[in-house]
Symmetry: C2
């Protein structure tokens, strides 16, 4: 639960006084999220989210994230809009941490995914990929091939503690992806972490996307692969092809996939499954005893990876062959 | 941090549909508090707090608390107002827990107490004591003399682990209070836990009192003694008589203390200091290894108790002698 840094009423009032957003009338920590400290701030005008950036976000990446949200919001995407203080800066400091105030988004994230959510998601993802066009900053995806290589090296020896044979399996999968990973596909800024808790809905309509702190430059279709993994498997790890078809077709309504992207989907899904398998495995093997945050189960993504290994083409995801 | 029970968007929407408060448009867990699970719920109409009552609140006490808040709010006190569902009930169930929706109060609780806060507090405390008059339900204070007896018995043997001699000291203090504790003083429903995090301010005006889950019948002046302990000591445990004088005189503006109450103040302050010393000591000695909530320092209240032991009369708190 995400309040790592306490903020006093006086520090908050002083901080907010540098903005043209009215006086603070309510303030409480938000229990969701694991990376940063988030607070609900209500002023005499409206509601905002205050984020204090904690250790896991690299300070040099913050201008990319904040400028990206501002760019996307200005182009009509529903996402948190950074608020600039009177000095023109959106990225400031509070209690020794980088801090930003962003607009408050209505909506609830869905705990149980129904097919209509996947259609809404596909629409929103394509709108994101259209809205990011022309964004001038770049951020390398540290969790692509070279990142997987480091994580496999860090986890390989102890992976069998989680499941016998897992070490050899992840090494073999990495070897496959080193060869099969696409060299050229349409690129742009991707969200890279569009799990259900980062997508707000009102009814079955998406009301906003949040948490852009993994955003980076990569293949656009890789973002779709991440969503196929995060949204289209049932709790028993069965793949729901109806959800996948709705996700992909709603996406293609705004941004049709090229034949090369369609053809690459199975390998992109394998890469995405390996990426979350590896980070979860690393956290599982390295989380401190008695830590506040319980690590997520890496084997969920091992099951998903095995599914993708058996998929022979885009038809496996309900798409027409390229 | 207080979200022990997760609530899904679907469960919440079903729950809220039984009320005439509009549709849910936003929902997040609140990181403050340690007893219950609290959520910020925004509907198409306004904002509310949803509370799920966890194990530390006895279910048989809940009607007292909920009816009390409703009674106080109806009599003009600024406190959370329980919202009744269409079936007329304010106390309902969600995810297997007793649950209630209450009105949302603006305001921030003060982290650094200045004298003006104590004047606001005294005013609000007296208004509470006037507003509770005529409330028809009763709840015994389980943390008065008989409760202290049990806690001393439970802690005595191991108290010296915290500070050499503490076991004998708390036993001696209990013996003193068994004799000196008042038999008859004006009684009523007291808040019994009016620490700074339960008092919201906008500027130096009190905007509301929250967290009535220790409320019970006891001497009204004992509530004032609890506030003297919780608000009038500086972080170095020095007693600030200016704050005490402002607290007591603002209180007496609405509810003058009787000579007997004024005279009893030193012993009531000793009892209140012992009460928080004992519950903190118990939690300190009995908290599980690696628990989420770090227990509060019992010795803070040992220092306060020692101050009160040296006070010879109400003048020590800045009051005129009775």
């Amino acid at each position: 639960m995400a309040v790592y840094t306490q903020v006093s009423d006086e520090d908050l009032s002083r901080f907010v006084a540098d903005y043209d957003i009215g006086d603070v009338v309510s303030f409480s920590g938000i229990a969701e999220g694991v990376e940063n400290s988030n607070f609900h701030v209500r002023t005499s005008q409206t509601s905002y989210i205050l984020t204090l950036y904690e250790k896991r976000v690299a300070p040099q990446d913050l201008p990319f994230f904040v400028n990206l949200m501002e760019y996307l919001a200005a182009r009509g995407l529903r996402c948190p809009t950074p608020i600039r203080a009177r000095d023109g800066q959106a990225l400031r400091r509070l209690n020794g941490r980088p801090a930003a105030i962003v607009s408050f988004l209505e909506g609830l994230w869905p705990r149980r995914i129904v097919p209509a959510h996947c259609a809404g998601l596909g629409d929103a993802l394509a709108r994101l990929h259209r809205a990011q066009e022309g964004f001038p900053m770049r951020r390398t995806n540290a969790l692509s091939l070279s990142g997987w290589r480091s994580l496999v090296a860090a986890c390989e020896a102890r992976a069998d503690e989680v499941k016998p044979g897992l070490g050899a399996s992840i090494k073999a999968e990495l070897a496959h992806l080193e060869v099969a990973w696409p060299k050229t596909l349409p690129e742009g800024v991707i969200h890279a972490d569009l799990f259900p808790d980062n997508v707000f809905f009102l009814g079955d309509k998406v009301s906003g996307l949040i948490d852009f702190y993994f955003a980076c430059n990569d293949f656009l279709a890789y973002d779709l692969a991440i969503c196929l993994n995060a949204w289209c498997f049932e709790p028993d790890h069965a793949f729901n092809v109806t959800k996948a078809r709705l996700l992909a077709s709603a996406y293609q309504h705004h941004r049709p996939l090229s034949p090369a992207e369609t053809k690459a989907l199975p390998v992109l899904c394998r890469g995405s499954a390996l990426r979350f398998l590896l980070t979860r495995l690393y956290d599982w093997l390295n989380h401190p005893e008695g830590a506040l945050v319980r690590p997520k189960d890496p084997l969920e993504y091992w099951a998903k990876l095995q599914f993708h290994q058996r998929v022979s083409g885009p038809e496996g995801y309900g798409l027409d062959p390229a």
